[in-house]
Symmetry: D4
Subunit: 159 residues, 8 copies
């Protein structure tokens, strides 16, 4: 679990990319008074080390008709089925996050759906996976915070 | 709740950006046999309509020393404190997601921390917010799925 | 708790009214081979005895934009507040049913709302009533049965 | 989900019918200064559009010997049995309401019975349906509110 | 459910028997200024009517080495097994009370045992009955009240 | 906790009294081939030692109009109030049994009431005691076993 | 359950051994003004009586890389499997404590693991034992007290 | 969190001490073919590094009259009181273990008591600490495993 060492320049590059993944490397270079080639090399190095795993678009799901968010706790008949069930869950695009947990639930999922009726269908898809014993759902009334940028900045400030 | 209308070209542009937010517009233009200016105009239009809200880096939190994920359910003394408490929660960078829920919990958060001890500190920060009555924590043993791309592609295929 | 005695004619009148409260008394009279005056007298008598308390329209709430149904369990700070709280609840038109229960909850309500956001507002109205300590919500995914007619026919068949 | 458009006249007709479904159309006509024929046409139109689905008698169940109300949460062995189980539940006249829910319970029912002993029999009928795994019952001590009229008036005032 | 009518004399006889079931009829007669024969007839009548079902000794279980009291909730695999399971429970003398309940548990028992180890054995006997799915136990730390006499006097005062 | 020693004769006397507390001592004497005086001395000795604490009538509560049985779990604000609250509970004759428990509840009671409405009143009496924070009720659908005689015989057979 | 009688000298010897199991008998002898042989005899006697069952090293598990502590509640399919399952649990060295409980869980274990991932593996080992139906885990954030010495001194002071 | 490095000799010394903390260093030396001085130096080094924190006697609590074991979950009014409450808990010798947990409970304790009545007293001591809101108790029916030796050997085999 030895960690890749990032220096001050790496942090500043990441700080800029966190705010806007599409910022041109030439802009980063100008800001940090280094060459664009250096930015490119550094980013490449962090990608190779697996620190930067990619980037993702932040869409407005409400505007796209997906305003329903729920958390679904899944009980398995037996934990030996965990891997198999997670593969089946992975085939349902409406499940955006899934965790193995060891408290009350075996697997804990976040789903996005169009509305109550669609959510029912998605939950029934989960319920119908072989090895799933029962599910329990908690519905979000409002997604008030969904922001990893504060965490990322906090990590780099602290390093 | 009238939805912005996206056409086939918009979908194809989004499909490419979903896979890599840093793909140059010229590459998108070449692939779709349209001009780079058109790509630029379309993306600008989707940003103005609020459909594209930005982009975010996908970092490997484990490699950055943040391998501990937990979900924390927050009970408030009174729901009239919801807005106030969410503002306080928003000041804790280790809380990456927070929902208003109306089942067992009033607010439901996802936190990322360095380890058990750090997680205890973060949970105590939540507990110490004025108006928070109690918290209940569920710890993730493995984040098996964290992927909105499948959902995004599914949305555009279906539109 | 002495019960009002209904005879066979009363049952047959009720059986017809249950299926359609707007059926003209002349139609009932014709069917049962009695005079319309008798029907009138019998219905009046059952109204005076408090057996028939009125009638209600059955509207399609979905078509009227109210497709969200939830059950909300209310915990009071003290049961001596029950009457006071029920009076406040009675001022919220979106609460269509409320029971005093003595299990987990003190009061148990059924609400109808337009959508998730509206439901959140209604639940917050409940939470903000003085004396309400906490609420817990269970959301309906589909109202599969809502039919008192089967029960009414069953009661009259059995009497 | 396009909604049928109701105008001011429709609302006023509904407002009168909500208070008394048996009010003669001539009375409504007189009150609204329109012809009875218009009332008839309007009501017919709302019935055809499915907004008015019918009407139901409001009986005093206590006076009829049915003073026991309970809510029964049903756990299924598997959600694929939901439709089958709901059909069986629909054969029990003492179940007046049933919802598909996705929280703790799969199906949530309201029952009316004569007394404790009869309620036990009804719950055992539910328990004995094939595919039902367990039930959990919450007993009502008093039905304090059961009134859709406030909601209906509220809907028409707001439209 | 027509109730047997008790008069004032019956109440006074019962009041004396409640305090001491072994009080001689001659003592009751003297106190109430009636003949011993009348007392005898009255008691016989109440026994025949099933109001007096018998009498029971009140022993000090602690002094007899049975100081451990617990309540055990029994979950059945299916409620159709209720009668069968209750017959098996009835064979365990350490179960002094058993109720059919319809909330969380199917059957709810009170047990008396010698100590922790003996209680474990009794609970295992319950767990081993065919059709019993699981049990949940709540242990009494002190039996502070066990007294039906206050209730009996209250009933007769009120009649 | 030294136990009083009972010999074979004591057991046989108790065995007879368990079945019928009103059995005359002369009958016991005849059966056991001892003198009535001996029976008297033995019983007196067991009363003095506190083994026999008294006797109680077994009435048919249903026939007396008390057919409703419930178990009520009481949560206190603070366990230091336990003694005070138990004294208040002791003033409610409808509470026939109360235990100090240390699991979910602080105090656990058994109540007998006339019907649902009366039970609500009794539970509200409990809720209104100063220091009582909340109550949770479980309703009995049938008292299938209520019999200490099997236990008593079992104790004496085993001694 | 007759208890071995310890005298004042035994208590003083135990008091010294509790603080340091490796203290030489000659030191104990000097302190208590008795011969080392006497100490030896006394300790031997307490070992033979089974009062002293042995001694154990207190290691710093954190320094040894085992900083993760969790409590795992085990639900069995049937309590008749308790002995069999406990034998399987006994083969997992990371389970340091296991109790038979009769409340919510059948068996309750304490585990020590290296980290979250290792804990997941240990919990899966428990889940995979034949007869184990489900497990529920509670994670320790800090072991604040782990000290039997206070209890031991308390026992000897009191004897 | 850099770990102290133990070599093969250290492991073998620990392996012997784990089985018997009172084994003389000369015996260890003979077995491992090293000098007693070396054993002494090694053990001293491990004590200084904090790996060996001491040793404890393993007594038979049952024989000493302490046969009652329970786990008590403590809910605090506010987590800011955690340190204060733990200091108070530390003054109760019957609490042998206490953890800060962040799930359902704030603090989770293991207690040993003489019997049910004594356990009630200990739990009341916990309940009476300022800042403690409620406690929930789970009683052990049998301590089936309490053995850290298997874990210790496992750690040294694996290093």
């Amino acid at each position: 679990m030895a960690k890749f060492k990032l220096d001050e320049i790496d942090h500043q590059i990441l700080d800029m990319l966190i705010d806007n993944t599409r910022v041109p490397f030439t802009d980063i270079a100008k800001k940090l008074l280094i060459s664009a080639g250096t930015v490119h090399v550094r980013v490449k190095k962090m990608e190779d080390a697996g620190i930067i795993k990619g980037s993702s678009l932040t869409l407005d799901y409400k505007k796209l008709g997906y305003s329903f968010i729920a958390y679904v706790g899944v009980f398995l008949q037996n934990t030996s089925q965990t891997t198999f069930v997670l593969e089946r869950i992975n085939e349902i695009p409406f499940v955006t996050v899934a965790h193995i947990t060891t408290g009350k639930f075996n697997v804990f999922c976040k789903i996005r759906a169009k509305n109550t009726e669609h959510a029912k269908d998605v939950i029934f898809m989960l319920d119908d996976i072989e090895g799933v014993y029962r599910t329990e759902t908690m519905i979000s009334m409002e997604e008030s915070i969904n922001d990893k940028k504060r965490l990322m900045h906090s990590i780099f400030n602290e390093l």
